[in-house]
């Protein structure tokens, strides 16, 4: 029997195909297309302390094999989220990974305290690729000190139960350096990668196309960057579990990230083009693994790193 199970920190998952944060709405929208309990996990849209309207529109621009978005973390805030979204997902039998985002180190602490006693959550994804209002809007994950501070803040407040997965941005000189820092600060796993900072200029208006000027680049265009980031971090810290993402739209793409070192993968932009993308990828990945002779997902994780002698 082929074993599709995987783990991130102490958390176990039936299969390695997750939705990517911010790319599956509240879950309800996709549940018309497939049952959410078929996913390894639903990763929820990054939730903040308070309700947020997000950025002005236009919020998106299609780019070659990708897209830019600047949603600005629109959402209901943690309290309504815990009241409505989490119970609904639980009722569906979904495995839940909650993604949180803060504007200050203290925000992360409060969010962690609100979440630590909530039943039915498997892990926390900590999105630190967002602006730190206390530090000139600089992104937490861009600097070792702020990345560490955010994760430490969660670690101290979450208690021992929930695994922490720190989500990093690739927009840094050395993602390995940041990864080491957040692992030292208590992250149990890493989510790689968030979107890449980009811009599109509308040649009609001759101004940036997005109201927020810059936006995050996602989709197949960034897959080689994601594979590189996962490979580099896995090479540096083979024991740290990685949730890989960035442009995965087929089982072969998922396999690539797993060979590079990911123990599970998130599907983001692909779900916009195809609501069934995660299910398709799950099936294709299983076939890919089996046809390459693997008896379990685990054997394939990081397999591209084996020494030249290996077969």
């Amino acid at each position: 029997m082929f074993n599709f199970q995987t783990t991130l920190g102490q958390a176990e998952f039936e299969n390695p195909i997750f939705t990517a944060s911010g790319c599956a709405g509240s879950g309800k929208e996709l549940s018309q297309f497939f049952e959410l309990n078929q996913l390894g996990a639903v990763v929820t849209k990054s939730i903040m302390l308070k309700a947020r309207s997000g950025r002005a529109t236009p919020r998106m621009a299609e780019t070659p094999s990708g897209m830019l978005n600047s949603i600005g973390l629109q959402g209901p805030g943690i309290d309504l989220f815990l009241e409505n979204d989490v119970p609904w997902l639980r009722d569906q039998g979904a495995t839940i990974v909650v993604s949180i985002a803060g504007e200050s180190v203290e925000d992360y602490a409060v969010l962690a305290r609100k979440l630590r006693a909530v039943p039915g959550i498997s892990a926390l994804e900590v999105n630190i690729s967002c602006p730190n209002v206390e530090n000139r809007g600089q992104v937490f994950a861009c600097h070792p000190e702020t990345a560490r501070a955010a994760i430490e803040s969660v670690r101290r407040n979450i208690g021992g139960e929930l695994p922490i997965i720190a989500k990093l941005t690739p927009d840094v000189t050395s993602i390995v350096e940041i990864a080491k820092e957040v692992v030292a600060a208590g992250a149990d796993g890493l989510a790689l990668i968030n979107t890449v900072l980009g811009m599109v200029i509308d040649t009609n208006t001759m101004r940036p196309k997005l109201a927020g000027k810059t936006g995050g680049l996602s989709g197949p265009a960034i897959r080689p960057i994601a594979v590189r980031a996962v490979y580099q971090v896995h090479a540096a810290m083979p024991h740290v579990k990685i949730l890989g993402m960035g442009g995965i739209s087929s089982g072969q793409d998922a396999f690539e990230l797993i060979l590079a070192g990911a123990s599970a993968v998130s599907v983001g932009t692909a779900s916009f083009g195809n609501p069934m993308a995660a299910m398709k990828i799950k099936e294709e990945l299983r076939n890919e693994l089996i046809s390459h002779g693997f008896d379990s997902l685990r054997e394939a994780v990081g397999y591209a790193h084996r020494s030249e002698g290996g077969n």
Binding site: G22, C23, A24, G25, S26, K28, E29, L30, Q32, F33, K45, K50, A51, R52, S53, G54, R55, A56, T57, P58, R59, M60, E62, P64, S65, G66, M67, N69, I71, Q74, G75, P76, G77, A211, G219, P220, S249, T269, A270, S271, F272, G273, N274, P275, M276
Partner: protein
């Protein structure tokens, strides 16, 4: 919020016909059951570009009409204006080609329970969904007048059988190449008054919808409009297609035009916002 996309299905649908009509392509797809579920105002989200395309997002198209052909399956029709890469690709696909589409999506035009006098106003390809609406309204005993406007004659979409289904059809073009010279809004006041209109339905560019809404407010008429925002997913998962909408509680929220729209009440739209977040919007700070 239960039942989001609840009638939507993803199907691989064959193109049954593709005909150039003025500046547009009238396209028909064999979609099976979906045809039954679609209501006027709903849209369809279509994959474009084929196998190794660099276009990763679906394109939304208002459903022009659907036909249920019983055992032989349903048909779904749209009107495509070739514009950028995606719509141009689609317009070039020939009968026999299989297309990945999801429908029906979004809200539908509200149908009055009483037989009222309705005015339908379409701009450019925005007239397309109004013909299906007109049929439904007529079946409910409503009188239906229609106004269609565009910059030029080639961009007026008004098929013969569509024309027959309305009590009156007024056409306006900005260059005067057909119908009256001017904009749809130039003729609305007179029609509203002389035909004693109770409700206005509209579909077209945002600027036109806003101008129509000014007039419906003037006359204190119900106005249902179909808005068009840039959509990445069409199914409510990406939050790109939002616009500020005032709820019944008076609270403005950034709502998704793909699931809370495309058809919305004209009075609920914050027309002055013009792609900003208006003050007082829920979560704005």
């Amino acid at each position: 919020m239960m039942g989001i996309n609840s009638n939507a299905k993803q199907v691989i649908a064959e193109i049954v016909s593709n005909k150039k009509v003025g500046a547009y392509h009238h396209m028909v797809f064999a979609v099976g059951d979906i045809a039954n579920a679609a209501k006027p105002g709903n849209f369809v989200a279509i994959s474009v570009g084929g196998e190794s395309s660099q276009l990763v997002l679906r394109r939304a198209f208002a459903i022009y009409r659907t036909f249920d052909r019983g055992a032989s399956g349903g048909l779904l029709e749209i009107v495509v204006a070739p514009h950028g890469a995606g719509s141009t690709w689609l317009a070039n696909q020939q009968p026999g080609v299989k297309i990945d589409l999801i429908a029906p999506l979004g809200t539908a035009f509200g149908i009055p329970t009483e037989p009222v006098r309705a005015l339908l106003v379409g701009g450019g390809y925005g007239s397309a969904p109004l013909f299906g609406l007109s049929d439904v309204l007529k079946n409910r005993g409503c009188r239906v007048d229609m106004v269609i406007g565009a910059s030029t004659a080639m961009k007026i979409y008004a098929p013969l059988d569509g024309k027959r289904s309305v009590s009156s059809l007024t056409i306006t073009t900005e260059d005067g190449s057909t119908g009256k010279t001017g904009k749809v809004t130039d003729v609305l006041r007179e029609i509203i008054t002389s035909n004693e209109i109770d409700i206005v339905y509209s579909c077209g560019p945002m600027g036109m919808l806003e101008a129509i809404n000014n007039i419906t407010e003037e006359f204190n008429l119900v106005h249902q409009c179909s808005i068009e925002e840039s959509m990445a997913c069409g199914i409510g998962v990406c939050m790109t297609c939002v616009l500020p909408i005032k709820g019944e509680d008076g609270q403005i929220r950034m709502l998704r035009s793909c699931i809370d729209g495309p058809v919305v009440a004209g009075e609920s739209v914050i027309w002055s916002a013009k792609r900003t977040i208006p003050e007082g919007t829920w979560g704005a700070h």
